[in-house]
């Protein structure tokens, strides 16, 4: 089925979850990981989704990012149901995803990882390399680190590259799954500062899935997920 392009109309909420439920395909009929979740996300704010292990935080992030599609209820992005959207296009243009384990391509350099993302999104940029280096600088990396293979960078540096990559096509939302889970306290603070700046200064909607109390304290809105015990 041909999916619709995302309508470019301004909505009150950038993302709305309405009675979203999810269970694994091989689970019992009433064994839901998420049950009737209704949340809203606005631009210019940071959100934290907290919860114990198994509460469905990462599953919720998968649903929001369009990586998981077998759910009940509706997820509305800028007024359009995700079910009617080309999800590849949605992930390559409208949302930036940052993972705990960075998910960079190890055979490419930092700049190449960022440019690859721009290529996939088909964003019209005159000098992609320059933009990639500018983005690296904006997340606290040095330009000379751009031509290093990502495996030669530290964990914190790789996470900054991942953030720069997610910003390369100027998405409306940044979805981060435990972005500071593998980092030390100092680096965690720096990464959180960057994410907060993106929301407050660049009007992005930043959603962070986290265990960390530290993260929960600095975000604008914190949603707590409770484990569904039937």
């Amino acid at each position: 089925m041909k999916k619709n392009k995302i309508e470019d109309k301004k909505s009150e909420n950038v993302l709305t979850l309405s009675n979203v439920s999810y269970r694994y395909y091989d689970a019992e009929p009433d064994e839901y990981v998420l049950k009737d979740i209704s949340l809203t996300f606005d631009e210019g704010k940071t959100y934290a989704i907290r919860g114990r292990s198994g509460s469905g935080k990462t599953t919720l992030l998968s649903l929001i990012s369009g990586l998981e599609t077998t759910y009940e209820g509706d997820i509305i992005y800028r007024g359009t149901n995700l079910r009617k959207i080309d999800l590849d296009e949605y992930r390559s243009r409208d949302i930036g995803i940052v993972f705990q384990s960075y998910n960079l391509l190890p055979h490419l350099t930092a700049v190449e990882n960022i440019i690859l993302s721009m290529d996939i999104s088909k964003i019209n940029v005159e000098d992609k390399r320059k933009k990639a280096l500018d983005l690296m600088e904006s997340v606290g990396l040095k330009r000379e680190q751009g031509d290093r293979r990502v495996l030669k960078l530290s964990g914190g540096e790789q996470q900054r590259v991942a953030i720069a990559r997610s910003l390369s096509y100027n998405p409306n939302m940044i979805i981060a799954d435990e972005p500071t889970g593998n980092l030390d306290k100092e680096t965690e603070d720096e990464i959180l500062q960057i994410l907060t700046r993106l929301a407050h200064d660049e009007n992005k909607c930043v959603i962070i899935v986290t265990h960390s109390k530290n993260v929960a304290e600095i975000v604008d809105v914190c949603y707590e997920l409770k484990k569904n015990d039937k």
Partner: protein, 503 residues
């Protein structure tokens, strides 16, 4: 452009993996290019040989039909009442004799009818008739001439019918319909030693064997008179325009202990002379030997069917020189066959190995697939990129393989051919030793399918444009087949699952 750029980056950054795939494709390419070069060169050599030695069809006795009829005429066994009586057998024998005699005397009209075919490039024929002469002495220790003897050494004609009338005459007058029909001169079996063969194929001229000329003190310009032994008034006078000799090798092989060559009593003229004689005496027994040059060896069956539909007697059949030609190209055909088997084996094994290695590689690249899908690369784009990568590696490997294949194809093919020739030679030697002879002393050409003489002793198996085009096609096919692994995996892998596994 993005796909190409990403594919190139992936290739250059994962050299080990791509070199591994490249080596396999290169080995396949070397084997394939050598095999294709051998196949194509062998085919072109065989085609060229077959073009050079045209497919000649003649009409001869159908021995199978004769054998069947002979069975019907077998005497009854003592304990059976179902056999034919002697009267019935005699009647059948007479019928068959009559049918054969009638069938073997093909008329010129029939030959023209058979020759008027899309499968026939050209045709000619010879007519031979047994005659006597009061003024000539025959070379008496040579083979006797008979009205059904065919007259010359080109014994593809209709000879030896069952109980055919064999009234012995002194000389055989053979008339040819064209210069090209004189196959013994064309092959070099006969050579003019004095004068020439008249190019006027309507004149009363002839050429005679030098032995007959010497025996009768004849020379170019003299005349000879021959007559029909059944009708002495039916005579013909011919002017000798040339004297020929028969070459020694055929003499020794076909005349045995005779002091004269087999063609000593053969007088060569044109069909017009013989037609003149038969017009005067319609009962004169004439043996007709037609030769049809076919357009292609593929037309043999069609031509046979056509002449049968035009009324060829069941006692006669079409035979060709195809076996002789194919026997001369047997070794090269064997090498070509070996090359084909080798090609099939290498493609099957190579294809499977390539497929498996690609499967393993795709599994190793699951993480990359997961990341690319997560950041929004479409399945189709990803698949194209993987195919593109494999295609680039394949093209480079095919080029290197073709270059190496080109440099080894000639020595490899010649080594194979030399081996095959040696094997054939050993086979011939074994046959010769069964006769207690050396191979060189006996004539073992085509003895029971053993080819002694081979048309080729080398093969120029070059990797040319045709081979390259075929190689490219095969490479493309292998790339597509081995890409199926990537196609299936990319469709099947869930990016979420991959990244979860990774975490």
């Amino acid at each position: 452009m993005t796909i190409l750029k990403n594919a190139w980056l992936s290739i250059t950054r994962n050299k080990g993996r791509n070199v591994q795939i490249g080596i396999i494709i290169m080995v396949i390419a070397i084997g394939t290019s050598v095999a294709l070069a051998i196949r194509n060169s062998a085919k072109s050599l065989i085609d060229s040989y077959e073009d050079q030695y045209e497919i000649e069809a003649t009409i001869g006795v159908n021995r199978d039909t004769m054998k069947e009829n002979m069975k019907d005429m077998a005497p009854p066994s003592t304990d059976s009442s179902s056999g034919s009586t002697s009267t019935e057998r005699s009647e059948k024998m007479d019928d068959m004799r009559s049918a054969f005699s009638e069938a073997s005397n093909l008329t010129v009209d029939e030959i023209n009818s058979y020759g008027d075919s899309d499968y026939v490039k050209s045709y000619y024929y010879s007519l031979s008739v047994g005659l006597d002469s009061s003024s000539l002495t025959k070379a008496s220790s040579s083979s006797s001439s008979t009205t059904n003897a065919g007259g010359n050494n080109n014994s593809k004609g209709m000879t030896g019918g069952p109980g055919t009338e064999t009234s012995t005459t002194d000389f055989t007058l053979v008339g040819y319909s064209s210069i090209s029909a004189m196959s013994d001169f064309v092959s070099g079996n006969y050579t003019i030693t004095d004068g020439s063969v008249s190019d006027d194929l309507t004149s009363n001229t002839c050429v005679i064997n030098e032995e007959l000329a010497t025996l009768n003190n004849l020379s170019v310009g003299d005349t000879i008179t021959l007559y029909d032994s059944d009708s002495t008034t039916n005579t013909i006078t011919l002017t000798i325009t040339g004297i020929f000799s028969e070459n020694d090798s055929s003499e020794s092989s076909s005349s045995g202990m005779s002091m004269f060559t087999s063609s000593a009593n053969t007088i060569i003229t044109n069909t017009n002379v013989i037609t003149t004689l038969t017009n005067k005496d319609s009962s004169l027994k004439v043996t007709t030997t037609p030769t049809f040059i076919l357009t292609s060896k593929d037309d043999i069956d069609a031509f046979t069917s056509e002449v049968e539909s035009k009324g060829l007697s069941s006692y006669l059949t079409v035979s060709t020189n195809l076996d002789q030609i194919e026997s001369s190209t047997e070794t090269i055909s064997n090498v070509s066959g070996f090359a084909l088997t080798f090609l099939i084996v290498i493609l099957i094994i190579g294809g499977i190995v390539l497929f498996v290695i690609n499967m393993i590689n795709i599994r190793e690249r699951k993480y990359e697939i997961g990341v690319l899908r997560t950041i929004g690369m479409k399945k189709s784009t990803l698949t194209l990129q993987f195919i593109c990568e494999l295609s680039i590696v394949s093209i480079v490997a095919l080029i290197v393989g073709a270059i190496i294949g080109a440099s080894v194809s000639i020595p490899v093919s010649n080594a194979l051919l030399a081996n095959e020739i040696s094997s054939q030679s050993n086979k011939t030697s074994e046959v010769a030793s069964n006769f207690g002879m050396d191979k060189q002393n006996g004539n073992f050409d085509h003895v029971n399918g053993v080819a002694n003489t081979q048309a080729f002793d080398s093969i120029n198996a070059v990797v040319d444009i045709k081979v390259l085009a075929e190689l490219l096609l095969i490479g493309l096919l292998l790339t597509i087949i081995s890409s199926i692994a990537a196609l299936v995996s990319i469709q099947r892998f869930s990016p979420l699952t991959i990244l979860k596994e990774r975490s």
